[in-house]
Symmetry: C2
Subunit: 201 residues, 2 copies
Amino acid sequence: MGNHVWVRFPPPAPLNPARPVKFCSHCGQPVTLRTPEGDHLPRHVCEACGTIHYQNPKLVVGCVPEYEGRILLCRRAIEPRHGYWTIPAGFMENGETTQDGARRESREEALAEVEIGTLLAVVHVLHADQVHVMFRARLPEPRFGAGAESLEVMLCEESAIPWQDIAFRSVDFALRRYFEDRRRGLEEHHFTSLDYRRRTT
Amino acid sequence: MGNHVWVRFPPPAPLNPARPVKFCSHCGQPVTLRTPEGDHLPRHVCEACGTIHYQNPKLVVGCVPEYEGRILLCRRAIEPRHGYWTIPAGFMENGETTQDGARRESREEALAEVEIGTLLAVVHVLHADQVHVMFRARLPEPRFGAGAESLEVMLCEESAIPWQDIAFRSVDFALRRYFEDRRRGLEEHHFTSLDYRRRTT
């Protein structure tokens, strides 16, 4: 058994928006942290109105859009990882499917209308309480541009991918699996987990 | 363009625990509903401390455990759909993978230690703001029993599945794809969407 230190990479602040629940969002009274009857985990419970405030992982949805062999990448205009490269991706909204969300993020971040294809990657980002779901996608026309959250957007050959400047490890994972599968003529899906909550020293 | 009526099936109350956000969970002040600058959707915003309270879909994770050709089913001891049959499934918790969650639910609801296999189904339950992720699974030994949330648990041949008494449409979808694929000797994954928010009359 070693010691554990908390390592955070990338900085989780805006990616993990969970702030401590101190007050009931329903009635405004202070909450307590306890395990409700019949449950097995501590929850934020409002003793005034009885509401239990569950916290669950959030879904991030994205895609790898391809046009004539090249991949659409966006350079981030926002934190975290400002200035680093990523694929179109973001938090899934209520009322949409995972594919809808990936399409919407392509529109918002890259001003691109993509056709979502097969499932590429599911990444459990345990240190951020997120599940990243990435699809293959097709960009039918080379029309794109920098949305409000992007500094620039480019179509990029595999040999020119800026691997040292990819914003997130989940994106690195998705891109590597994308190119490996493409080389083999396959479209498989790939699960993995990232966990920077603690590291044994 | 027809008229829209709101149809709710199954009853979404406990499945969709989202209650209206009236107060800031961080500082306890009343929130307002508005679109923050740079955003495109209305959010619950605390004008006192600046916190934006996003609401996102929740993940439900489950599996279809098989033992010598038979499937493990649980009869629900809780609402919604008390007395109806389902597979082990429930809300994913922070700090676990989707596979971890499916394994945990099998333990809790069916007192069964399963080995999670391939991805079977992803169901967007749009009326409940949920994404259901179901896996194939193997029950290595016929050891199981009714957990606190189950009335009874059984191993069931395909020909004996109580199709009329399956608790949720997402479970019906997962089971049908499971048997179809098994007959064809395949293990594919299947996406679908359910939307009972409104129906054109």
